[in-house]
Symmetry: C2
Subunit: 687 residues, 2 copies
């Protein structure tokens, strides 16, 4: 047996769907040596996941890759509910708002998965310095073994590579599934009704060792979907648990020809013939989720031959009746069995992690799957990346499982409830407890929205999130004793809409130097930096100005004690071209000042401490760090202080993690300085 070729990498990502690509994007932005492999021959060209929730769009925007989604996607602004009237004929019972107004600059949107995969790849390419080779997805590659050197796993040396994976490079023939995605004769490929095909692939490729290689990695992340090979490789205690119902639903992406009036709105129809949801899409298409009453899993797996596009479409026509429904173009179809599963462990020894469908599966109707998956690896990416760069101690990695397992559990609980409601017969049909009244259904829909948008996520108190002493105990449920809490204590009341553990919202502020209005999120891109957003209050008042400048003076002496971070080409994606480099790498902590004084009464260089407009010997002062809340010649006042829930006189300091979640809220003055130091010391200075 010949020796296999061996190499080292910081992070090996298995699976190049949205979860894997989000992680690859994060790591490429941080300049961490990464490989990403996928068993498939190509990215997804149609169908699959399609719903973008507002938090996902905010996250994509933080990398500068949301614009194209936002442009190409279909936005779902209103939702319509249809039920049978007293004669059994469906009629519109309500039409209402789909995304909570004011929650975000984005709304729920729909675009097929292949496009976002392309945007990720473009975003990864943009991260790469021009003299290096950008990270590429290595397709037709499958792992065949995974081992963790348990002794080395806890090695504090950041150069330890305790995970060993063998990879097999497949031929195109081996990697092509027997039924291709574009083949409408089997739309169930990739559905949860399909069997895993990895065993078959391995079988076909056996005995060709020349195309195997060994990779030693600091970290391995399995983003390899519901049939996750990585999860199986980690052992029995990683198995997902949960339940499946007998309910089978069909899905079709068609260009509809119909006289149904609400065909371009998100619509829930509950007819006596069954339930159906319309998701209007890009490209004149709609996706229909169609209850298949005549097919059932009957306790076991369903007979797949029973499910054809003809049968699914006939069900849709019955539910649409008396409206007509026809189509000429069908882009994709599939079917799935409703069920919810999740695992107890998201990581092994904080060296191998699972993300996305590999640790939670559920039904697709609420448009959550791709979103929660991307948000998993968005949570993990900066932690692994900064650990690899020796900026964060390794134990911060424990917060991944803590923070995301709770979301997965919430997700499957939500999905179980939502699916049952949806599949319940309309009350018209039978006067029994299985009927779901339109009113109950609508109510459940609306109360679920904070969860479904992804904005409701609230992370537990840890070293990363310094909640108040008497923080809501509900959020502290699962915190293991091993994970240190922050020594800092926040004062939530200073910034009532910057909720500790939740994502910092974005409102518009005016750049002091040139009067341009900016979404504050666009000044807080995902580039690995923590942030202090200093809401300085009314700095036209001498006392307040002195307080803000005293904080500036302290920051000037404290920040140099913290690590620095090298920033790559796309680290400030909303500011246009970056052509000229600063003298030195900036601090891991970025400082942004937002004051509430009249803009004309502030002179940036004269009135404000240099901590808020750092000087570079080649580039001069930085004019991009001071913003004001007020009005311009062009826009109405944005009232950012009011929206952030901050007193416009005294202000507040809000500390943000690199993923934009609020970790600290504290006063601008002396006590704030104390808390800031405690918070950062707790994160960076532990040993």
């Amino acid at each position: 047996m010949t020796e296999l070729p061996e190499s080292k990498v910081d992070v090996l990502i298995i699976g190049a769907g949205p979860a894997g690509l989000m992680l690859a994007l994060w790591l490429s932005r941080l300049g961490v040596k990464t490989r990403i492999v996928d068993k498939r021959t190509a990215k997804v060209y149609s169908g699959q996941a399609d719903g973008f929730q507002v938090r996902s769009l905010e996250i994509l925007d933080s990398f500068g890759v949301a614009e194209r989604v936002w442009k190409e996607a279909n936005r779902m602004l209103e939702v319509s509910f249809w039920n049978p009237d007293e004669n059994g004929t469906i009629q519109r019972s309500a039409k209402s708002v789909n995304t909570i107004p004011g929650l975000s600059r984005f709304t729920e949107s729909v675009l097929h998965q292949g496009r976002i995969e392309q945007f990720f790849i473009d975003g990864i390419r943009a991260s790469c310095p021009s003299n290096e080779t950008p990270l590429k997805v290595e397709r037709m590659v499958i792992p065949t073994s995974l081992e963790i050197d348990e002794a080395a796993a806890e090695d504090p040396d950041p150069e330890a590579h305790p995970v060993t994976v063998t990879l097999r490079h497949l031929t195109e023939e081996e990697a092509t599934p027997t039924q291709m995605l574009s083949n409408l004769s089997d739309g169930i490929f990739r559905s949860n009704l399909a069997e895993d095909d990895v065993a078959g692939i391995l079988d076909r490729s056996k005995g060709r060792e020349a195309r195997d290689e060994v990779v030693r990695a600091k970290y391995v992340v399995g983003c390899d979907g519901a049939h996750s090979w990585t999860r199986k490789a980690l052992g029995k205690e990683f198995e997902m648990k949960g339940e499946s119902t007998d309910a089978i639903w069909g899905v079709m992406d068609i260009v509809p020809i119909t006289d149904f009036p609400d065909i371009r709105f998100r619509t829930m129809i509950q007819n006596t013939a069954g339930a159906l949801m319309i998701i209007p899409r890009e490209n004149r298409m709609v996706r229909l989720y169609i209850q298949l009453k005549e097919v059932s899993a009957g306790g076991g797996r369903v007979d797949r031959s029973q499910i054809t596009p003809e049968i699914i479409f006939k069900s849709a026509q019955r539910i649409f009746s008396p409206y007509k429904l026809e189509y000429h173009y069908c882009d994709w179809w599939t079917a799935y069995q409703i069920g919810q599963r999740t695992g107890d462990h998201f990581s092994k020894l904080n060296r191998v992690f699972l993300a996305g469908d590999a640790v939670h599966t559920h039904s697709p109707k609420a448009g959550q799957g791709m979103n929660i998956s991307m948000q998993d690896s968005y949570n993990l990416g900066w932690k692994i990346g900064l650990a690899c760069k020796n900026i964060l101690p390794r134990d911060v990695l424990s917060t991944y499982e803590l923070e995301r397992k709770k979301i997965a559990k919430d997700l499957i609980a939500f999905d179980g409830k939502f699916s049952k409601l949806f599949t319940g017969a309309p009350p018209k049909d039978i006067q029994s407890e299985t009927g779901v009244s339109d009113d109950v259904f609508q109510k459940a829909f609306h109360t679920s929205r904070m969860f479904t948008t992804g904005v409701g996520v609230n992370y537990q108190p840890t070293v990363l999130v310094a909640k108040e002493a008497d923080a809501d105990p509900e959020t502290e449920d699962d915190i293991p004793n091993t994970l240190t809490k922050s020594a800092a204590k926040s004062t939530q009341s200073l910034a009532t809409n910057c909720k500790l553990g939740q994502r910092f919202p974005s409102y518009k502020v005016i750049r002091q130097s040139d009067a341009r209005l900016w979404e504050l999120h666009h000044k807080l891109p995902s580039n690995g930096r923590f942030r202090l957003v200093v809401f300085g209050g009314d700095i036209s008042q001498p006392a307040q100005r002195d307080t803000v400048n005293a904080l500036g003076a302290w920051l000037s002496s404290y920040l140099p004690k913290l690590p620095t971070i090298a920033l790559g080409p796309a680290s400030d994606p909303h500011s246009g071209l970056i052509k000229f480099k600063t003298d030195a790498d900036p601090s891991i902590v970025d400082v942004v000042l937002v004051h509430s004084a009249p803009r004309d009464e502030v002179d940036l260089l004269r009135d404000v401490h240099e901590a808020y407009h750092p000087f570079d010997s080649k580039l001069g002062w930085d004019y991009d760090k001071v913003f004001s809340d007020g009005k311009t010649f062009y826009e109405e006042p944005e009232r950012a202080y009011e929206k952030y829930g901050i007193d416009s006189g005294k202000g507040a300091v809000v500390g943000l993690r690199p993923d934009g979640y609020v970790g600290l809220v504290t006063p601008v003055g002396h006590d704030g300085v104390d808390q800031i130091q405690k918070w950062f010391d707790g994160i960076f200075q532990r040993s």
Copy 2:
């Protein structure tokens, strides 16, 4: 002598700067067979033109290529004026708005010419069907002869190719100017102080006939700059006339290190040491326009060796005093002599045209050059394109010279006045008539804004613009008798802010089918189609609805008599992916309905005539043609009717040319039908 290779093309464009590329983009969108050649080896990498006026951004947006400019460019929102105080020390005398608020969704912006050239090239590529080869700029190609077969020039056969051009393909060595742009030792390359280098290039490449070819074209357009070879080839009567002053100005693009407070605002400084303008740019740079008092053309050409970056920068430092100015990075520099020239003829036999700097040159300070040049070829592109496609009769081409020559004359008049004002000493300095008071200067600046934004452009009445019988005679000055006026007569008072001859403004309207808010411009892209924007008024009132539907019924019988137009891949750039094609090519006239009824009281399929939601046998009804003015769950009411100056009860019909200029304003009812028919018959049915 061997026979030269010969080929045919519809349009040959000479010069691939902004004017040539805009024309190439138009023609590629229209699917017209085009070639574009340029003598240079590469596009511009730094410096050159940089100002984007709001109308230019609207035009770029109509092709879907403004987004990247708008993202990367620096926006200039406020303008600051500095003058000496009684002690001779400069101080801020005023700060005010730079672009008229509410005029457009864009504001004046700055980005170097190389980026927009790239965006044009990307936009051209996006126009191309996937099975064809996209139009490419053929670089290092120079024309050596041009002949028009005058007898064939008036041939009404759309397949006539009466223009013959010989092209020479250069080697890299031949095409490279002796001093390269990036070589800071001679920043005057491409300045109007530089000599034309075509003669030298031809000289060097003499006697290599093997690399020559002959092209027969329907049309040739010279976009080849101030030294235009095409203009010279057309003969003496095409020479530009005008005057030069002795004033020399320097230009530097630097990353400034300065304590001057307004360095990120557009700023005019008039110090006793001279005048200076700050244009803040992308990439932390500013452009400085610096009066060079110690250098003068002295009636003739200036001695170029006198002009160095050191001398220019020293002047800048003196004008900035007492503020400090230093720099480490200089991206580009040049100098120019102030002067204004334009030609009497913009076309020969409507077969060869000149556009951009080839027919008007002036000083760059008001950021007009690139804009007027792009707007020239934007005016010309659809006319040539639709003539090539035999949709428009050839005599429409006469409107190019009529419409654009007036703009060129306005431009040089404006520039002469503006430059003089700017170069005039501040009143502090001398109490003579050469001093320009700050007040006079500011006033001139503000009154010029409707012109400088490009929004003030008002085209004369012709067959394309059916003005009122008593239209402003001032706008009719230069109309030749040979050019037919429209038989239609507009009623301007029906839509007071849709001014005949001016660009149709954009306000937001709500799509009836899915409640999404759209800039109306985004539904009127540049794809060659004329438009009827039917402001249908309150169609919840039966009488008004009947009127609107009667118009719809008439359109359904009239429009099929007009030509159709094939639409390519990027013809609807704001609607995302277009994957599925309609049965047949659509009419040359697009119809869009904007009503003012409450949205919930209108059912698209039931209430509105099919002319406003055309049916396709494979794609069903078109849900993208009916909009309402009102409110949504997410936004405040947009009050579009009010902004367009249209009565929300009765409405109005606004007819638009393919370039978005208003050609007709008429009632929705019977009389409107008459005028619509007269207008379109006048355009399409002449023989």
